[in-house]
Symmetry: none
Subunit: 147 residues, 2 copies
């Protein structure tokens, strides 16, 4: 399980240190891909496989499925760590995610997301009011289900 948000710097060579807590849970063979809302996503190997499975089962037309496969696999790379625990973000990935000198690394349960500074401040900076609202919703749903 990946939890927490970390702000790390991206140096001029495009290197980004992955938090040690995350790295421990990332066996070799993990994949970094382009994700929704303009973020990058790191999938542990088995999660990546699971993702492909659900796409196969999603009853797309063959043409759509081919297009999806090209998009997903073509834009992804294997994660390779150097001795300091950093990965190199390709120029393509950096420009896709709008990342320059700072990146936010976010644990989202079974995968990791990487955001640029501006977008994460907008998306990730939830106030106490928002958390309150979420808990209200969850509590209501649970009550509804238990009846």
């Amino acid at each position: 399980m990946f939890l927490g948000t970390y702000r790390h710097s991206v140096d001029t060579k495009g290197r980004l240190a992955i938090p040690a807590r995350f790295r421990e849970q990332l066996p070799s063979g993990s994949v970094i891909a382009k994700g929704a809302e303009g973020c990058l996503q790191i999938y542990p190997r088995e999660e990546w496989g699971r993702e492909q499975d659900s796409q196969r089962l999603s009853s797309l037309s063959p043409a759509e499925e081919r297009r999806l496969a090209r998009m997903m696999f073509g834009a992804a790379r294997e994660c390779e760590f150097d001795a300091q625990g950093r990965i190199v973000l390709s120029a393509d990935h950096r420009s896709y995610a709008g990342i320059t000198s700072v990146a936010w690394i976010v644990g989202v349960n079974n995968l990791i997301e990487i955001w640029n500074d501006e977008d994460w401040r907008r998306i990730g900076d939830a106030t106490a009011e928002e958390y309150t609202r979420i808990q209200d919703q969850v509590a209501e749903r649970r009550r509804a289900r238990e009846h």
Copy 2:
């Protein structure tokens, strides 16, 4: 079951001792998250899973679900105790909860809440009149339901 309220100090390193009575009931794998009304919440492992289930079963759009997951998991951390039974509150968590040098640790049935000094004095100090009013309400609802 977590019961009682404790006032503990938070040192300059952000460390907070969790009451021994609570610690005994917290297996490793417990999670500390941002909670409603600006408090922090510690979920024992299985409670955390239950919370996640409630959210998964909710009928949100994929985009809303992604946002919810980012907020919940990105704002949470695993609870790690040192040899003295303390956890380190991250800078983000401290600022979210407005905690500086004092924290109130409150047992709330199946989870633990952590409050800053000022907020807890305001909301935690209920008078006899308030307890009376709440018990009245509960009793009335129960009678209504049983008829």
